[in-house]
């Protein structure tokens, strides 16, 4: 198939498929089954076109698609490089699974305004792919903002007071940080380097001295609010008011990964790790990342609401990627890239499980989960696998990324990073393992037995979380594709 359709066209198809789906979905608003079929079809087309690009990229090709020149110096252009390929693969494949999950969740819970929901979801995924394949900072920025705007209606979906307030914080914090910090950073980059193209080795080599580089890097780190580096993290827990499919795919995978993906790309392909380590940027970035990791983990310990605990866990895990970037060695970057994939499948499993618990047992708090493992074995089993992935224990995917980052930290004698990783692993175990323990080894409160319908969630939900849990294990056993992509990312 790859020889039939040119790679450039595949890029176009991949990006346009979700948007085409978004346009078609309203036409079927009176026929829910057809409407859902459109979503699934777009997801499958997207997945196939992204997969079709994979062999070429693994072989060393870098397909390029120039769309138009906006103003001199700013162009809308796409280029598939390994990290973007990895991100797109993760997002595309998980969208298929998530769509299945959404259908089950939205129907069982009789959520209103489902047409709008699916439209915004498609637009959000289209923006994610556009971001993944962006060739320059302008294209990335354009899809970054589009992603914020597309997910805003999803965050405020419930339309109750809490959702509206959360949406306000979401929009202000994300668009605000990108306007105040990210955009000036892009302009300064353009003025220093004369270009915004992502280039191996970076474009700022020799163009700025250390203080300016520090300022610029700081503008990026805090300007990319989606990476949830503290204090730009407040939108994430607030966004948990959204329906769980939103939290699962967007705020565990697409949106947050877009943030750390941007940071990785900026560090590698705009600054260049040489330039940054020569300018001594590693230390302060490690401190920032480490602080976020630890503080978020501590806050997670105190959360009783399951989704909020998962949200703070996400904040913490995201900064692992930033930590990997901060260590500034090829191995740590490989670890960071692997962690993007590993955390995605692990976290989506956890959110799927949380949504399943909400749907079937109508429970939202950790303290209510006693004995749930007996009645919902598949859900809690998947949860357990996801939890292990977060802690970073084999045989789950989470082990890989952490291992590489830890190795790199030890190699560069970055004992601060080592300490952070060790501490946070303990803390993560501290806020996840008790849940697993309670679910499987404690008796359920008797009062609940009579009130709640016992048993698993509907089959689409269970199927989805089984698939992602299996993927979490599978990635550990067979990490070839992410591994090859990550290593060619630093090689190219």
């Amino acid at each position: 198939m790859t020889s039939l359709i040119a790679p450039e066209s595949l890029i176009g198809i991949a990006i346009l498929a979700p948007f085409a789906g978004a346009l078609l979905i309203p036409a079927f608003r009176r026929h829910p089954n057809l409407r859902e079929a459109v979503t699934l079809a777009s997801a499958v087309v997207l997945c196939l076109s992204v997969a079709a690009l994979l062999p070429g990229v693994l072989a060393g090709a870098r397909p390029d698609l120039q769309v138009l020149d906006v103003v001199p110096g700013l162009s809308l252009a796409f280029k598939v490089e390994p990290l973007g390929m990895l991100f797109a693969l993760v997002a595309a494949s998980l969208w298929v699974v998530n769509s299945l999950y959404s259908i089950g969740y939205m129907r069982t819970n009789s959520e209103p305004r489902q047409t709008g929901f699916y439209v915004c979801f498609a637009v959000a995924l289209g923006s994610t792919i556009g971001l993944a394949f962006a060739r320059n900072l302008f294209t990335l920025f354009l899809f970054y903002e589009a992603l914020t705007i597309a997910t805003y209606p999803l965050v405020t979906h419930k339309l109750d007071h809490q959702a509206v307030r959360a949406g306000r914080l979401y929009l202000l914090l994300l668009l605000g940080s990108s306007l105040l910090l990210f955009l000036p950073a892009i302009v300064v980059t353009w003025m220093l380097a004369g270009t915004l193209d992502f280039t191996p080795g970076g474009i700022l080599g020799g163009k700025a001295d250390a203080p300016l580089l520090t300022l610029l890097l700081a503008l990026y780190i805090f300007g990319v609010g989606k990476a949830a580096v503290m204090p730009m993290h407040f939108w994430l827990p607030a966004a948990m008011v959204a329906p769980t499919p939103v939290s699962a795919l967007l705020h565990a995978v697409a949106v947050v990964k877009a943030g750390v993906f941007t940071i990785l790309k900026v560090v590698m392909l705009i600054f260049g790790i040489e330039t940054l380590s020569l300018a001594g940027q590693s230390l302060w970035l490690t401190v920032i990342a480490g602080t976020t990791i630890i503080v978020a983990s501590v806050i997670a310990l105190a959360q009783d609401n399951l989704k909020r605990r998962l949200a703070y866990s996400t904040i913490s895990q995201l900064s692992y990627v930033v930590l990997g970037a901060a260590i500034l060695t090829p191995i740590s970057l490989v670890g960071a890239a692997l962690h993007i994939a590993a955390h995605a499948v692990g976290k989506i499993t956890l959110f799927f499980a949380a949504g399943s618990i909400h749907t079937a047992a109508h429970l939202t708090q950790v303290s209510q989960l006693d004995g749930l493992g007996r009645r919902m074995p598949w859900t809690m089993g998947a949860f357990a696998i996801g939890a292990l992935a977060m802690i970073g224990v084999p045989p789950t995917a989470g082990f890989l990324g952490k291992w590489f980052i830890m190795t790199a930290a030890v190699q560069t004698s970055n004992w601060l990073a080592v300490a952070v990783i060790c501490t946070s692993t303990i803390l993560t175990a501290g806020y996840f393992l008790p849940i697993v323990y309670r679910a499987f080894f404690r008796a359920p409160p008797s009062a609940h037995d009579a009130r709640h319908v016992v048993g698993e969630a509907p089959w689409p939900i269970v199927l989805a979380l089984t698939v992602t849990a299996a993927a979490t294990l599978l990635l550990f056993i067979w990490p070839e594709i992410p591994f090859r992509l990550a290593t060619s990312m630093i090689g190219s």
């Binding site: 906006v70 103003v71 920025f141 705007i149 306007l179 302009v187």
Partner: protein
């Protein structure tokens, strides 16, 4: 055709003028509408032809009545005013279909023909200011457009429109009179009123008459500042825009202040800038300071407005601040950003005010709390409003981003970090007031007044959608906006070197 072609510059002004006279004789609003539409749709053709000619062969000089300048009145068209001509005429043409139903709804049957008559006079005035190369002639057209504007505003439904029109009359006349004083002082020094000739003669006159020239320049800048609603001379604008009929507001917000800005740019760069070294005068610093104040303060006031049109009016004051910021930066990127925002803001504000007018047409209100949930009932209109709203914020992919990109680069070219801070902070404030409206429009249950609303008829809806689409199209494909403006900027700044 060949007989008409050389006289296009004059026809640009004469056709709407005669149209206005005929419209004044008509009784029925419908016939006047047809006449106004015919004239409005001819204007872009003429303006386009003129701009095309300028781009091909250079500036056009037309001698009115065949008399030689500088004694006769000269119409001079170069890239800068050709571009503004196209903008004004295209906006007028695009929003003309909207007027039919909107005016019928907002204005008495007896006054409708008069309204079109006034509109055509206003169009005459605006096109005349743009096309003329004579300073006093510009004053005449300035007053023609202003007087007809006062009438158009006074036709609004709310009786506060009368007060707003009166206040605008007072302030506008003072502004125009200041402009005339300034011209008079320059005339006393040089003996000429022709703009190109003034540029040539002010230079030699500078050493001896510098005080008179500076005084004249000051009067001109302040006078035009009143006309273009430069902060803090903007007080007439919120009332005028809020209470005028919706279509009038849309037209004015996109054209009236822009033409005054054009005139200011013409004086600052093509006349004063050429004649003497303006860097010794604090003009740039003053304009910069006032622009920054406009951007931040006016945006801030907009956040607290409860009337949608008043909010958009204060937003206009802030956006005009961006344009004058570009003028104050006075370098390649900055001036390009300011001038391209002339067209970008025209598109954005026209969309927003037309959408607000559509809301008024259906829901009979422009108070924000009464408009809650109108997005559900009028999805296309609200979608256009949303797109233009994000354009105001400066989201990439919209025209607003293009302007801000150039302005930020212009500021950094001077190494003025604080200006960049003000630009992005005001964008965030814009996000707040736009976000507030979006929340009210989309996320709340429809209020009682919105219950029977639906998207407006096609004649009103199509211009709104066309303009909203334009704000995205020209945000990605800037061949006709930014590139043309860059040519104009080169010309304006090139003469300085």
């Amino acid at each position: 055709m060949t007989a008409v072609w050389p006289h296009l510059p004059a026809l640009q002004v004469v056709i709407p003028l005669i149209g206005a006279l005929v419209a004044g004789l008509l009784r029925r609003g419908g016939v006047a509408f047809v006449l106004a539409t015919a004239v409005s749709w001819t204007m872009p053709l003429i303006a386009g032809a003129l701009l095309w000619q300028v781009l091909q062969t250079g500036p056009i000089s037309y001698h009115l009545g065949g008399w030689q300048p500088p004694w006769g009145i000269e119409y001079r068209i170069d890239v800068l005013n050709g571009f503004v001509l196209v903008l004004v005429s295209v906006i007028g043409a695009v929003i003309m279909p909207y007027a039919r139903l909107s005016l019928a709804f907002e204005i008495d049957e007896r006054n409708q023909a008069w309204t079109y008559c006034m509109y055509l006079l206003c169009l005459t005035g605006l096109l005349g200011i743009t096309v003329t190369g004579d300073a006093f002639n510009a004053f005449v057209f300035l007053e023609i457009s202003s007087l007809s504007t006062y009438v158009l505003i006074a036709l609004g439904r709310d009786r506060r429109a009368l007060l707003s029109a009166f206040q605008y009359l007072i302030m506008g006349t003072i502004g125009a009179t200041f402009y005339v004083i300034g011209i008079g002082l320059l005339y006393l020094v040089t003996g000429t009123l022709n703009m190109a000739d003034l540029a040539g003669r002010l230079g030699p006159a500078w050493p001896e008459h510098s005080r008179a020239i500076v005084a004249g320049a000051t009067f001109i800048v302040v006078g035009l500042g009143l006309k273009l609603a430069l902060f803090p001379l903007h007080f007439w604008l919120p009332g005028a825009y809020a209470y005028a009929p919706s279509w009038v507001t849309a037209f004015l917000s996109a054209t009236a202040t822009k033409v005054a800005i054009y005139l200011l740019v013409r004086f600052l760069f093509s006349i004063f800038g050429v004649a003497f070294d303006t860097s010794g005068l604090p003009i740039a610093a003053m304009i910069l300071g006032l622009s920054v104040a406009a951007m931040v303060i006016a945006s801030f006031i907009a956040v607290f407005e409860t009337d949608l049109k008043r909010m958009l009016a204060y937003s206009s004051v802030a956006q005009i601040g961006y344009i004058t910021l570009g003028i104050g930066l006075a370098n390649e990127a900055g001036l390009t950003g300011g001038l391209v925002h002339v067209v970008n803001h025209a598109l954005l504000k026209a969309t927003l005010f037309l959408a607000a007018g559509a809301f008024f047409y259906r829901a009979h209100t422009v108070q924000l709390q009464d408009l809650s949930g109108i997005g559900r009932r009028m999805p296309l209109t609200a979608a256009a409003f949303t797109i233009a709203g994000f354009g105001l914020v400066g989201t990439p992919g919209t025209v607003g981003f293009i302007s801000k990109w150039y302005l930020v680069i212009g500021a950094l070219d001077h190494s003025w970090w604080f200006v960049v801070v003000f630009i992005v902070v005001s964008s965030v404030i814009a996000l707040v007031y736009v976000g507030r409206v979006l929340e009210i429009v989309w996320l709340r249950a429809p209020s009682s007044q919105c219950a029977e609303a639906g998207d407006p008829p096609a004649s009103m809806l199509l211009p709104i959608l066309a303009l909203a689409a334009a704000t995205i199209y020209f945000g990605l494909e800037t061949e006709w906006t930014a590139r043309v403006v860059e040519t104009a900027t080169d010309m304006l700044l090139g003469r300085l070197r």
